[in-house]
Symmetry: C2
Amino acid sequence: MTHNRINYLERFHNNGLRFTRQRQTILQAICEAGGHAPFREIYMLAKTLDARIDRSTLYRALAAFIRLDLVNSAEGIHGERLYEIVREEPHHHLVCRCCGSEIEIENQTVQSFYRALQDDYDYHVHMDHLLVFGVCSHCST
Amino acid sequence: MTHNRINYLERFHNNGLRFTRQRQTILQAICEAGGHAPFREIYMLAKTLDARIDRSTLYRALAAFIRLDLVNSAEGIHGERLYEIVREEPHHHLVCRCCGSEIEIENQTVQSFYRALQDDYDYHVHMDHLLVFGVCSHCST
DNA sequence: CTTTGTGCAAACACTTTGCAAGTCC
DNA sequence: GGACTTGCAAAGTGTTTGCACAAAG
């Protein structure tokens, strides 16, 4: 199983972890969930793939994935934690507070903002998934 | 009690709410907490001012303050919800993932980023408190 | 066969809710 | 008095942990 040209199995073994059936199932569930998914959704999807998976297994798996940088977490519109497969390129979204829709932001726009912060404050920004909340053109008319 | 030139009492009464002793105590606690504070910290501070204040009162008061736009909430470095007194100017912070320190970002820098998003995506950004995570100059050396 | 992971149950932390008594106007 | 609030207790939710058994290397 390979996503984003990453060899998952190797990544686990290099860190003394095991790529078990359950963890494969969970990764598949996250993929099926598309972009970002909250715990609840991943759990339900994983359950349909393997009814015996336990909540605690899922929590522990997510923690492992994050440790391995296979998954990262972002904050949703109401502070819920969302999990997503790490992509090679950092990416960013505009999220509409009104309808919940999301638009992906051109990375360049964000990068120039980060560069300004780096220049002005000598701060090395490390966010591979920025969420900016606002109101989309559709809702503001 | 007036902060930021806002007349709190009036704001409550205009919305059919009451500015009770407990709510005054809680607002004072948030102020004493300085910038952003998590529930736990506000609760402890409020307890020192009035030992009989209950958790549920605090939750309900915070919800009321947010409804009245006296307080807003942001996400901390590990997803905890932080509460803070609303300021007149939107403001933004760089938060160091390493040492947890915070620097306030010049609002102009952020505004030009927002303007770029507005121009490119016709998105009206509405965030009065952006947190950008990274590594500060001190930690990166 | 040693180490790591799983499922179950229990514990823990965080937040919300119902209600009787109290407070504010 | 009438509407809003409080404190308490109880219930919901979300997350973590201990442990015996199972699986992986």
